[in-house]
């Protein structure tokens, strides 16, 4: 399991625990652990030194210490908001009881908490949105990629359009998506907010293309021998796709999905920022608008969070890619 999922950094620990050649394991550890940590430490040092030199109209650029402090403050705010939420429901229940005493026909309802979203809430919203956009994109991109990969004619027909749409920035799509969503998605009491739909569709439009292209290429490059086997066996179209095409196209497909997810995450932050839809992007924008002396540190907290989440998402895809790939010797980075 460990070897397939490429989590090489765990191996020396396990071997060390088993007592297998400790000296070699320690050397391996220093290579996989100490060197990267030293890199991070050097970066922090550079950051701390450089930050003090940059003066903005909001004060000096925040160093690692300020950012750490604001990270803590954001967590405290989250905890305070949760306490306030409990109190809110408590008050609401009391009020409902009072009203029922006055007006027995009243059917009490509990309204959801109206307080502001905390940093943690914003992270979760972003994760949900990116997942929804990415899943939607994959559901469209994989079948499309298979279909155009199987037919040379279709590939030639679609390729120019795909190449044209691929480099379009989310910022260009966003106004169009916003207007279309507003026009099409009309409901008195929407189940999901419009802002969520807008961000999701923008993310989808931007992260569709790598998966389409990679799937098509993967499908098109199926080994000729395998195709011949399928022909000899007179496999039906569906069986041909399922047993011959898909297994050989999967590594390429997942490489495409991995790129797509990376793009999805980047696009989402920009889309949230511009569309003012809840999430980390909005958090960054709000802090920028506030212009308080903590704003820059808080934006840096968000920058780091965005980076960490992006990294984790990429590792997740890499693990999946390793799991489904039949060529275990390939070095995935």
């Amino acid at each position: 399991m460990i070897s397939i999922s490429q989590q090489t950094w765990l191996q020396p620990w396990i071997k060390l625990a088993r007592g297998e050649r400790p000296a070699q394991q320690l050397r391996s550890l220093s290579r996989t652990l100490v060197v990267p940590l030293a890199g991070i430490a050097a970066f922090l040092l550079l950051w701390a030194v450089a930050a003090g030199q940059i003066n903005t109209s909001l004060g000096a650029f925040p160093g690692p210490q300020d950012v750490w402090q604001q990270g803590g403050a954001l967590l405290d705010e989250h905890a305070a908001e949760r306490r306030e939420e409990t109190a809110f429901y408590e008050r609401q229940r009391e009020r409902n009881e009072q009203r029922q005493a006055q007006d027995p026909s009243y059917q009490p309802r509990l309204f959801p908490y109206t307080g502001s979203s905390t940093y943690i809430d914003q992270i979760l919203t972003s994760l949900v949105t990116v997942t929804a956009g990415f899943v939607l994109a994959s559901l469209l991109a994989i079948p499309l990629g298979i279909v155009i990969g199987l037919s040379n004619t279709l590939y030639r027909a679609f390729n120019p359009v795909i190449q044209l749409l691929k480099p379009v920035s989310p910022l260009a799509w966003l106004p169009l998506v916003t207007m279309v969503v507003s026009a099409v998605y009309v409901s008195q009491d929407p189940a999901v907010p419009k802002a969520f739909i807008t961000s999701m569709i923008t993310v989808m439009l931007c992260c569709l293309w790598p998966t389409v292209i990679n799937t098509a290429v993967g499908v098109a490059s199926v080994d000729g021998d395998l195709t011949n086997v399928s022909r000899v066996l007179r496999l039906g179209w569906l069986t041909h796709v399922r047993t011959i095409v898909l297994p050989s196209a999967i590594p390429m497909m997942f490489a495409g999905l991995r790129t797509s997810l990376g793009i999805a995450w980047m696009v989402l932050i920009a889309a949230e920022m511009l569309a003012q839809s809840p999430g980390l992007g909005k958090f960054v924008w709000d802090q920028f608008q506030n212009g308080s002396s903590d704003s820059l540190s808080r934006i840096m907290v968000a920058v780091i969070t965005i980076g960490v989440i992006g990294f984790l998402l990429d590792r997740l895809m890499l693990t999946l890619q390793g799991l489904v790939s039949w060529d275990k010797s390939a070095d995935l980075r």
Binding site: S57, R91, R99, D103, F111, S182, Q287, Q289, N290, S292
Partner: protein, 469 residues
């Protein structure tokens, strides 16, 4: 009973002896029955779950206070407050129903109703505050301007007229450069105040010509005005894209704090106790949810009173609340500068202006028709209303948009519940919605809301009479 109230209220706008007597009769009957039945004046809210929009400015305070102090919850309302990116997004939100109501520029409901910009019938029953804006210029402009200002005891004499800025603007024009200033929205109080101040000092701020498709507002302009969202003002000034701006707090004090500009005048000095923001909702919404609307106004009136209570005693606490990042989010000391009755012009030149932010005193929350008409006259003056309109049109438009009847309903409910005194409010029995003629403008021109066209005749710069671009 509410019907009775509303009709009696509309009658009194043009009182004749018998209607006045009838109004008194109806009101006393009403007072007796109300006491006898002791039934609440306003029914349960039709829509308890609400979302209101606001822009990050200190004058959104009544919304934040009504939320934080539980005044909304006392009315059985569960309100979410959402900061909006700019005034256009906010207005669109109210029109398309994403927002139930919002903190609006006084000109927005009027302009939307007459169809300048997006057309939609928006009304207001609550005026959020008086004053609260300032005009800031870049440091370089201030250095030049300062030479033309009289000094006493080493400090510039306020109020500073735009005539001190005129030579600076001329120098820009001679160099072939454009002198650019920012304001927050074409129908914002800030646009009209900035134009008023510039024109009073002999600088032409430019005309709009919507009938020719020109909505830039820069025709014949000596100073070119354009839109920048409030929170971005200091950054835009710092970047040199604009040379000055007119905006609400805390964004003038932020310029001092950051050292990027110097506030030269507050709107209190341009027009003493001028009406500023309003709480706007769409007419359709108000018709559908009358109880909810009246209850929202109740909560807001209480919040406004809290803000001004005991000679601004609660302001320090209000500052703390506004500094939270979901509201205004600027540093406490920046917000405190203007909210606690002082204003810092040049760095270190802090002067007392106790009425810089008024939320309740001087009947600040009452939606006066005369306030609405002043904004309409300025829209006409600068060409946003392209052609002559009779005085009657101004009054009719004000009545379509400003709804003192809803305000009175909310106020009377508060009096009945014992949360407020009748003395807190204008005398509803004989209030006709017009403030007496006011002359406390920087140029000394007298404004009487009953004669908008005669008022426009008094200005040297600006459209008047049948003039058409």
């Amino acid at each position: 009973m509410n019907e009775v109230l509303r009709t009696s209220f509309q009658w009194k706008t043009r009182p004749t002896p018998w209607t006045a007597w009838l109004a008194v009769f109806v009101l006393s009957v009403f007072a007796v029955t109300a006491r006898a039945a002791d039934k609440p004046l306003i029914g349960w809210p039709e829509k308890p779950e609400l979302t209101f929009g606001f822009i990050k400015l200190t004058d959104m305070a009544p919304l934040a206070i009504a939320y934080e102090k539980g005044y909304f919850e006392d009315e059985g309302l569960y309100v979410s407050l959402e900061a909006q990116a700019n005034w256009k997004v906010l207005l669109d939100g109210v029109i398309d129903g994403r927002l139930d109501g919002a903190h609006m520029l006084a000109g927005q409901p009027l302009a939307a109703t007459i169809g300048f910009g997006t057309r939609a019938h928006i009304i207001t029953a609550f005026s959020m505050d008086l004053n609260g804006n300032g005009i800031t210029v870049a440091n370089s402009v201030w250095r030049e301007m300062k030479k033309n200002i009289e000094h006493r005891d080493g400090k510039p004499v306020h109020p500073i007229s735009a005539s001190a800025l005129k030579p600076v603007v001329q120098a820009y024009r001679e160099r072939g450069e454009r002198f650019k200033m920012g304001m927050v929205f074409p129908v914002s109080t800030h646009n009209y105040e900035l134009r008023y101040w510039l024109a009073a000092g002999g600088i032409h701020p430019g005309y709009y010509a919507p009938h020719k498709g020109d909505t830039s507002g820069q025709l014949q302009a000596e100073a070119l005005l354009s839109v920048t969202p409030p929170p971005q003002m200091p950054a835009t000034l710092e970047a040199g894209t604009i040379h000055g701006y007119c905006v609400g707090e805390p964004w003038n004090q932020q310029a001092v704090f950051k050292g990027v500009g110097v506030p030269v005048i507050t709107d209190y000095e341009i027009w003493k106790n001028n009406p500023e923001k309003v709480f706007g909702v769409s007419k359709a919404w108000a018709d559908q949810y009358p109880n909810t609307h009246a209850r929202v106004v109740k909560a807001l009136i209480r919040a406004a009173k809290w803000l001004d209570e005991n000679n601004n005693a609660n302001r320090a606490e209000a500052v703390k609340i506004l500094a939270e990042s979901q509201y205004v989010g600027a540093d406490e000391e920046v917000i405190a500068n203007s909210m606690t009755g002082t204003f810092e012009y040049e760095k270190g030149d802090k002067r007392p202006i106790p009425d810089f932010n008024v939320f309740f005193r001087h009947h600040a929350t009452y939606p006066y028709y005369s306030d609405a008409i002043w904004y309409l006259t300025q829209m006409r003056r600068w060409g946003q209303i392209a052609e002559h309109k009779p005085d009657q049109w101004y009054l009719k438009t004000a009545r379509d948009v400003y709804r003192p009847d809803v305000y009175a309903k909310a106020a009377k409910a508060l009096i009945q519940e014992g949360k407020m005194q009748a003395s807190d409010f204008p005398d509803f029995a004989d209030e006709d919605g017009f403030k007496p003629p006011q002359s406390e403008f920087i140029d000394g021109v007298t404004y009487d809301g009953r004669e908008p066209n005669a008022y426009l005749q008094r200005f040297e710069i600006g459209l008047k009479g049948d003039a058409r671009l």
